[in-house]
Each structure stands twice: as C-alpha cells, then as structure tokens.
Amino acid sequence: MTGDGRRVVVTGWGLAVAGLGDAGDLLEPPGDRRDPAPDPVRRLSGRGLRYKDRATKLALVAGRDALRSAGLLGADDSAAVPGDRVGVVVSSNLGNVDTVCDTVQAIAEHTYLGTSPMTLPATSSNVIASWLAITYGFRGANLTLSNGQTSGLDAVHWAATLIAAGRADRVLVAGVEPDNAPVRHVLSGSGMTADPFDGAAALVLEAEPAALDRGARPQAVVGRYARRASLATAVARVTAGAVPVGLWCVPERGSDPTGDVVTGAHRVDLSTAYGPASGALGVLQCVAAVAWLCGPHAGSVLATAGIGDAGGEDAAAAVVLSSYAP
C-alpha cells in the first residue's frame, strides 16, 4: 500500500526573482544586482491582489510558471488536471512576519480597531499554500514548512513523501521569502545584515507514472533526503551509492565552514549570488539542479541547506537529484 517504489520526478519549474529569467541563469555568475530589474510581482494581474501579502504574490508568480512549464495549465491558466490528488507544499520562514508586525504595531497605536480584517488569514503562516490551492483548485494534502535554513529542501522531501505514500500524484512546491522592514529587523537582531533574498522558486513534482501517463517529459529524479546534525553526515547519507556529484549547491555562508564534504564537483552558492534566501534556498537550488541536469553536464546534483553543528544551527539537510532515464 505504501507505493514506496514510485519514483518522484520533476516536470516543471518557475522563478519569481528580479533579474532572473531562466533556470540556467542560476548556474552563471549573477548580473549586477544594482541594475533595477522589474518586480516579478508585476506579472500578476486581476482581482484580489490588494489583500495578498508579498510572499503570497511571489509564490503565485513562481507557481504559475512552474505549472505552465509542466504543462499542467490550460489556455486560461486553469488547472488541466483534476485537483483532488494534487498537493501543495510551501516553504517560508519569514513570509508573514510583515503582517504580524504591522498588525501588532497598529494595535499599539490605534487598539484592535486599527487592524484591517482582510489581513486575518495572513497572520496564519500557511496563507501562501492556501492561496496556491485556491487559485488552482488543488484539494490534496497542503503543507507549509517553516523549518529554518533547511526548510526548502524539507519541503521538497515532504512533497516527495506525499507522493511516495500515495497521498498525492503531483505536488506544487514553492519556496518563498519577502524582503521588508520587519524581516530585516528580525534578521539583523540575529546578526544577519546582508541584503536578504526577495523572491520565490517553484517546482512541480509528480509520481513518474502520473507524469508519463499525460505525456510529460521528466526533467530530473528526486533522490534521497536527510536532515542531520552535521552537513557531513547528511551528505554522506544521501550520496552513499549514488551517481558521482557533478554540481554541489552549497549552503548559505558559502563553502568555508563546510570544507571538503564534497570534492571534484562544480559549486554554486546561490545565497551569495542572490542574498540569504532562508526557506526559499532549497527550492531555488532544486531549480538550479534541473537546469544542470537538462544541460550538457555530467553527474548528479547535491543540494544542501543549513550547516548544522559547524554554524551553530540545529541541522543540515541534503537532497540528491539525478537525470531522468526511463
């Protein structure tokens, strides 16, 4: 009954990051970030945007692109598959910090009467996943992970687990973090002063038969996952017996404290390139992995987030993605 044999494949990706167009751009040195690139949220239009928070809007942009690239949306951008067995998994640590802080400030200044009733749903941190589900009618399992530095990879893991356990046939995964004053206040109070990432990345994961049955072309296979106390342990756990690593997406804080955990692989440091990405990092890394695996490159991709013991963090997570072969 467990469906443990069901392979989980990636069939689509989307990005909502200013200045980033293609997943392949993630593998190149970033352009000059001082160039004013258009805000990706401007790609949304229509009713109901006014009361959605920035994190939700960023996730809607990336999620739509992921679903489109997976071939799961019709011409009118509505879902082309029944929603009952489609899940949503979102990772965000700081997504609704702005709503919470703005509200508590309004109460201090104007009592409860100063609050805006329409912001009530956004005080609950699952609001992003809830809007993704409502927008596309996805009625399967709906999860939000707010799990620290590893959260984006944890989200990919839970999406794969929902599919392996048979709770869903396909899952939209999004990792998103907004940049705003309350976010900067909380981060700087914790000694993090770099300009934070502002954006979203999304993936479509499917059970292999669900993808093949509708004629979709898998772009990558989601392999093993581990969340362990140290990066070395997590990496050893997922890479044992796997295809040699061709690309290593390193955790935030670069490769210094992580040393020689992986040797001989090309390295990409997305946190340095695009700002500390917190709960979005792991999903962003997996989008980079898809670009690598669909390109002229060799080897599997190792995505890692969190550095665990080495950085005084609670854990490090690792996921392996490999190229698809029938």
């Binding site: 443990d4 609704n96 910090v97 802080c101 109460i107 809007w131 839970w158 709770r167 909380v186 106390a229």
Partner: protein, 389 residues
C-alpha cells in the same frame, strides 16, 4: 497498516499534564480567565484560555511556546521509554503561530529574539539532540496533519519511532484581528450554542510517540491506543471559511483508511470552535457522514474548556479521546445550553460528563484550519479492542 501510541504528553490552561488536563475536562473545568499577557485596554474581548506562567501580570516574555513544546515532548518521550535522547527519532511539530509572539515582542518592544528560534528544531536539538525535526505550519489542523505525516514516515520505513507534537500561544496580532472581525466580543467558546459569538484562543502543547503496530511498543511499558487511519485534504475554497463537503470527504476517507464505517464510531471529538462558520460547516458534514446511524456516536468539543489551542488542538483532542475511552467517560461541551437546530440529532454531551454503559472503542478526531486544511483521525482504544472491523 495500524500505528500505536506508546507515549503521550500534554499541557493546556486547564492542566499541566495529560492526566490533569483530561481530569479537568471530565470535571467540566474551564481555563477561561482575564487576558494576562497583553495590555487589555487595546482590546474589546478581554478573556482567553492562557497558561498562567508569565513572570508578572500584564508582562509578556518570548519563547513560551518553545518551553511548553519541550515539556510535552519530554513527557511523551519519557512515557514511551525513550528517555531524553531523540537523536535518531524524527520529531514533527504542528503549529499555527510558531514563535511569532516572540517576533511581535522583538518588533514592537525590542525584546531580543534569535531568528533560529522561529522554528522549533533549534530547541529540540538543544534539549533532545533531535536533528530530523520539522515545524509544520498548518494552521489549526497542524498537529493532526503532522500525525498523518508521521504515520506515512513509519509506513514508508523511513523511521521506526516518530514523535508528533503540537503547540501554540496567543499572539496579539491574531487576537486583535479576531476581535476586529467578530460582531460582538466572545465571552467564552460556546460550540454549537445559539449564543456563540466566536472563537477565543487557548494555549498549550501536546506530543505523542507513534510506532508501527507490527513492531510492538519497543521500550514503552504500555500501548495507549491504536491509530487506525488519518486523512488530510484541502478545501481549495477560501482562506478562512471552511467548506462542509470537503470536511465530509476527509471524514469518509479517514473511515476508509481505518477500515470502519460511521456506525462503528463511538465518540466524535468535534473541532467545535464556536464560530458560526465552523459550527455550520462541521455540523453539516457530520450530519451527512452519520446519516442513518442510530444511535449517533457520543460527541463533545473540548475547546469549550481549553479554548482554541490551534496547532495543538487536534492532538489535544486525540489525547483527550484516548484517556476518555480508557476511563469510560465523555467530557461535556461546557456551556452548551441552547444548541443550534443543526445539531438537534447529535448525541452531544451537555451539562456534565457522561459514563456510557457500553465501552468506548473507536473515536473520530476532527481538526480543521484556516486555508481549508482538514485532518480527521480514527483512534481505537486498546482496553476495549476487538469487535470493530
């Protein structure tokens, strides 16, 4: 597959451990009190179901949720014979508001707060050496949703033992916005009563230890209960209003996963928040699922005494169901004096706890949250197991 509960820990406004909490519920004691941690002058509603552990009245401190979670996990792990080393045990924590109360204090009052404490993994690592930890932010059904994930991990062979927990505090932002949204300030949580005015938040934490039944209790001295099945879904309908047909669907799926029929259920722990929207959707779904079942199962709603403990509430109801079945007593829906028409056929326990003449074997736990997140579990007593399916 079935799973067994080998350890339980809980705390709430009405009791500092699982037994004390359930004894209070059976005695019909409420945790309702004057609002303790916020400046009352900023609100119209001035009551809640808080844990009374602040350093002084009117002053709040950060990291209370983390403290309760650690207490509940420690109690459940000890109960299951695991000790304080959870380095090889996944810990899944369901919550609505995480440590967002600490974020509020950090932003408004400049109280120091480390962003690494926004998720609970940091404290779980420090106290238990746990590293495979997951903060699942699934609104008010979070801990029962996490129970489904824990069962899946066991089912897939990813772990032999899993700790599933839930925790929530009040935050001023949610409390103030609820105050803003209700036409009248709620005086207390009155599920399914004509005079209900809405939901009031409660505080608490809860944890259970889950294993595959086939593996037995391991180091635990006893089995508390058998989890027969947990179903989850999403309305995909509205960010805060629930949908009856989706609740009915998730209930039917829970019964199917558990291999039971509605007539097998002896006790329903209703979500019962005392908001008109929840109560109408839930009563419509329960009516549809249990249509033709005679007599209806016993039903209760413990939020009438604990308040809405949000991310903890699903497992709070589960622990209450397990101990209620063991003791053969169903707690009342406190303050339910004038039931709405929609529940006229329901066997709701009112006034005082009841002791049914027949054993209580199978309980259904309802847990629903913002975003249309629904989770329903079916739990079987191990004291009176046997005849059902």
């Amino acid at each position: 597959m079935s799973w067994i509960v080998t350890g339980m820990g809980a705390l709430a406004s009405v009791g500092a451990d699982a037994d004390a909490m359930v004894s209070a519920l059976i005695a019909g004691r409420t945790g309702l009190a004057e609002l303790r941690g916020f400046d009352r002058s900023r609100f119209r509603a001035r009551v809640a179901y808080e844990i009374d552990d602040r350093p002084e009245p009117g002053a709040d401190e950060p990291l209370r949720a983390t403290r309760w979670l650690v207490e509940a996990v420690r109690a459940a792990a000890a109960d299951a014979g695991l000790g304080a080393d959870l380095s090889e045990v996944p810990v899944l924590v369901g919550t609505t508001l995480r440590e967002l109360r600490s974020v509020e204090l950090c932003w408004r009052d400049k109280v120091p707060f480390d962003v690494h404490d926004l998720h609970f993994g940091t404290a779980l690592r420090r106290h238990f050496g746990a590293a495979d930890t997951h903060t699942v932010v699934n609104a008010c059904s979070a801990s029962l949703y996490a129970l489904a994930l824990g069962a899946d991990l066991l089912d897939l062979g990813h772990a032999d033992t899993v700790v599933v927990a839930g925790v929530d505090t009040l935050t001023e932002s949610t409390y103030g916005l609820l105050d803003r949204c209700y036409p009248e300030a709620p005086d207390r949580v009155r599920p399914f009563d004509r005079n209900r005015r809405g939901m009031l938040q409660g505080e608490g934490a809860v944890a259970v230890v889950l294993r595959r039944e086939a593996d037995g209790p391991g180091p635990a001295p006893r089995i508390h209960a058998r989890v027969r099945g947990v179903a989850v879904n999403c309305d995909a309908y509205h960010p805060s209003a629930p949908e009856a047909k989706s609740i009915a669907a998730v209930t039917a799926e829970a019964h199917r996963r558990a291999g039971v029929t509605p007539a097998d259920i002896d006790l329903v722990m209703l979500h019962g928040t005392g908001t008109p929207l929840n109560d109408e959707a839930e009563s419509e779904a329960v009516s549809a699922v249990f249509a033709g079942v005679e007599p209806m199962p016993y039903m209760t709603a413990i939020k009438s005494m604990t308040g809405h403990t949000a991310g903890a509430s699903g497992l709070h109801s589960l622990v209450a169901a397990v101990l209620a079945m063991r003791r053969g007593v169903v707690p009342p829906v406190l303050g339910l004096t004038d039931p709405v028409e929609a529940v006229s056929g329901f066997r709701l326990v009112r006034g005082a706890a009841v002791r049914p003449p027949e054993p209580l074997r199978l309980a259904q736990i309802d847990s629903f949250g913002f975003g249309g997140l629904n989770a329903v579990a079916v739990v079987e007593s191990v004291e009176h197991a046997g005849s059902a399916a």
